[in-house]
Amino acid sequence: MTPRAGSGDRVTGAGAGSDAGGPSGGSAHAHFSVPRSSAAVFLVSTLVLALQIAFIRALSLDTYHHFTYLVISTALLGFGASGTALSLARRWIERHFEILSAVLLVLLVVSSAFAYRVAVALRPDMQYVLFSSGEVLKLWAHTLVLFVPFFAGGAFVGMALSRFRTRVGLVYGANMVGSGLGGVAGVMTAFVVTPYRMPVVLSVLGIAALVLWVTAWPGYRRAPFRLFTTGAFVGSVAAVVVGLVLPFGSSVDQYKPMAQALRLSRQGDARHVAQKIGPRAQIDLFDVPSMHHTLFAAPTAAAPPEQLSLFMDGAHAGGVFRIEEAGQAEVLRDVAQALPYRMVDAPEVLILGEQTGVNVWMALAHGAQTVTVVQPNPQLIDAAREAVDSSVFDRPEVRVVSAEPRLFLSRAGQQFDIIHLASAEGMPAGSGGLASMREDYTLTVEATRAALERLTPSGLLTVTRGMQTPPRDNVRLFALFEEALRTQGGGGAQRAGAAAGDGEEGGAGNGGAAQRAAAGSTAAGRLLQARNYLAVTTVAAAEPLGQARIDRFHSTVEALSMDADYYPGISPAELTERNRVSGPEGGEGSYYYHAAQRILAGEGEREAFFSDWVYNVRPPNDNRPYFHSFFRWDSLSRYIESYGQFWFQRLELGYAVVVVTFLQVLIAALVLVLAPVLVLRRKAPVARGEGGRGAIGWTVLHFTAIGLGFLFIEMLHIQRITRFLGDPIYSTAAVLTAILVFSGVGSYVQGRIGGARAKPRHTGGDGRQESSRMGRLLPSRGMSAAERIRFGGAAVAALALVYYAALDPVLNVAIGAGEPLRFVVSLIMLFPISFMLGWLMPAGLEAAGRVSGDLIPLAWAVNGVASVAATPLSVMVASGVGFFGVTLLAAVCYLVVALAAPRR
């Protein structure tokens, strides 16, 4: 019989679910309800993806970015490992299919509920992990525990795909839609459940899947299975109940700042005031009298006022001042951020990315008429508001906008006298973690130009950032502002032209750098840079800076105990040394002065400077929006020479973590993929006859390409549509869900188009397919699996390139629209490519399954490993050659899929 003929919604265990080898006969698995089984797959997929979010939330709260990334990436290899296990023990697994699948579900439930708790007990000492093999072993054990639920979930879905491979479109569709909704479920759960409890709460989905699964199989009512399934259900429920009842103490790593607040609370020197949970971060407020936060205050500044300490995911985000008037915080007159505020009278201020309100108080302390605050996380503002009786965010001069700073800048509106990039403030990431590899669309050339366009004629764009040694952040900021000014079109160009004139005029008296600078760059007359002992303030002016404003800059710099590194007309004789920092040997001034001179000295010198500098300080743009990544491969020997054995602690660890993760996944991939390949190559019938060994090679190629390609396309669209929609959390969840659900729809539809209409040339008397090699499909009508692969691969490759060129222009047309319309536009744009993406996995599984059921677990393993490897790889490619490079790579992946498709 044909795979579906006569079976309706049920597939016979002996027929449709296996190939020539078949499962053992005589077991109780007479019929499985495919829709009900697919519903179980749907729930497991939902749980696994939501669990990924839950673990990321818990690890982010307890540990550090790079640790979270490394652990989660490794744990996700559970998917690949499950495919390998299925591949190596397929016959045995098929013989015990019913019991094993139920055992996997129980394992999934129990490990979801307890894995994090066990992992905490095994967590290594973070400060000591690089120096102790014992701590490294703990790290591995910790990761392995978190690997278990992904392995169990992956193995379950892999077994279902193998079993119901003639209905693979439906099963895979359920997997995709479930994964898509898992993203939403994870985000929504994070709003109401603490990170520690999230995995336990989510494990209820596993119990529901278990119920669906065993009831999909009529044999469960018979002894001895009835006893087993009852026990499995009771055991799972008991595990979840115990998991919920057991108390969760804080397991924030002892070296995180919040751990210090917790320690002080235990000894009575601090008090936990409030907490807000959510998918972006857990926000905690502590009353810790011994924490005195005021970024970049001068050494002689007054002590900061009474404040609450605000923590985001255990990291200190700043203080919420307990004051009622700006005058009560005298310290705010003596911070490095105050520099531009002292140069503009009664300004209208825009602060992008403000967190605690300290900068708002500072603006008010300097006479700001109005202050507009743009912050994408409304929970942060709410927490700061609720923490004190009189919140600065509630003052009549202050307006709070909940939006991504970049989106706010992109939409037309008001102009400001000061635009303060507070999101770039704070101490530099340093080697603090993976944050260095996060995309930042506020610190790109395009975003800076958008900000400059929002300035009034006398307006200033400003950013203050902690100093790194050797310098890089603030050098890059200067280069970024310079390029934005130099490449500004329209009114900006006219201003720039005037700036050049002003620069020459202003510099004439000094006869110094300004003349050279103005000759080499039109931006020279509109830039300022000064530093205290701790931070650098960089300023770009909307119009050329005249002598009066430069004089005011000078007096302000002196009043704030700062040293100027650049202003139009600066000369070496005017350099001061209130705060001594290193500079080039034999040269004059600091490295900041040196860098500014070279950046402004014309294209040739600027390029030479970027090439010479030990760090990558080129201005980021929307194609490579990695402001915080400074690593250069070609400087590696210089880093090692300068810093010795601890060189890696001097760098932004993010890049190194990404590379290490990729290499680790690559090594695991070799083991996880090669092992089943080697076994299959010796195994009949796969290795025998026409298409045998070729089929193994094709399986590895096809599923690697779609594993990588899918993640590349997902990453590209999440980035671009997140910028369009604004809120990073909701839009990421929405985009992820849309891509996966539309892919699930594509998966189902392609099955209807092709799979259902094709039938094997020969069928055995018991309904088993006899095909044992690629291409035994005999399409009666519709498209064969091979044709669907060719069409789908070519379509996705073409769409990827079309989207790269056309998506932004189309989205820009609608950027001024309201949120609902923008959301609809996003869905419409995402549908075609996501729909086609959904074709290639099930069509590939169908094609592989026609050759041998042994290839399906292999495909699952390869796809799982490739998907995990794709994440660090896409970041490496994007930071190296930009998103266009990722697009090309995705297109190549799908082109390979189309070209390598089976002939029939």
Binding site: F131, Y255, S431, M467, Y533, V581
Partner: protein, 241 residues
Amino acid sequence: MRRAMIRRVFALMVVLIVLVAVGVASAQEREEERRDMVDRHIADEGITDSAVLDAMRTVPRHEFVPEERRGRAYANRPLPIGEGQTISQPYIVAYMTEVLELEPGDRVIEVGTGSGYQAAVLAEIVDEVYTIEIIDSLAESAARRLDELAYDNVEVKQDDGYFGWSEHAPFDAVIVTAAAGHIPSPLVEQLKPGGRMVIPVGPVHAVQNLVLVTKDRNGDVTTEQLMPVRFVPMTGEAQDR
């Protein structure tokens, strides 16, 4: 009976002698390790102040390290001491001490006692050391340890170091062994004219800048960046250079 008694006493004496011998040998061995650490990781790396080198050769670092980490006490490395804190890399202790340009009669305040090791090194050089630790368990254990090692010129207080110790101010030198977001102005105020302060400033769990703050005879304050370091927050100590 009497012979048995003599045998027992003799056996006891043998055990005692062996224990003493092992103790002496162990102490000598640790002293050699300490000398080796100072020669290879401190003197050879550019620390020249003989008072600092002598102090580093004298203070038994292993006494300030948790029992289970004592084997690594003389490696040029930071070590965890519990409560989210670490004992500094020996080089950094020596470097920070040297830049203070201490004289025997000086009065010094340390913020962030931790295990008490830095205070002991200071106490070998100057007459008066005041050290403040905010974690009470660390303050207690450091005070007990310093007392046992007979550092009578060190006074330990459990308190917030941000405000210094006004009862004993002004100080010739201030040393902060915790990553601070900014230079606390009360510490600057408690510094004598001509005094020096060394402090790591910057983000926690990342690279900070070790800053030397100098107050001249007129009370004017200047700063100088010395080197990048990594300290743990509040009461932590340097890890590397």
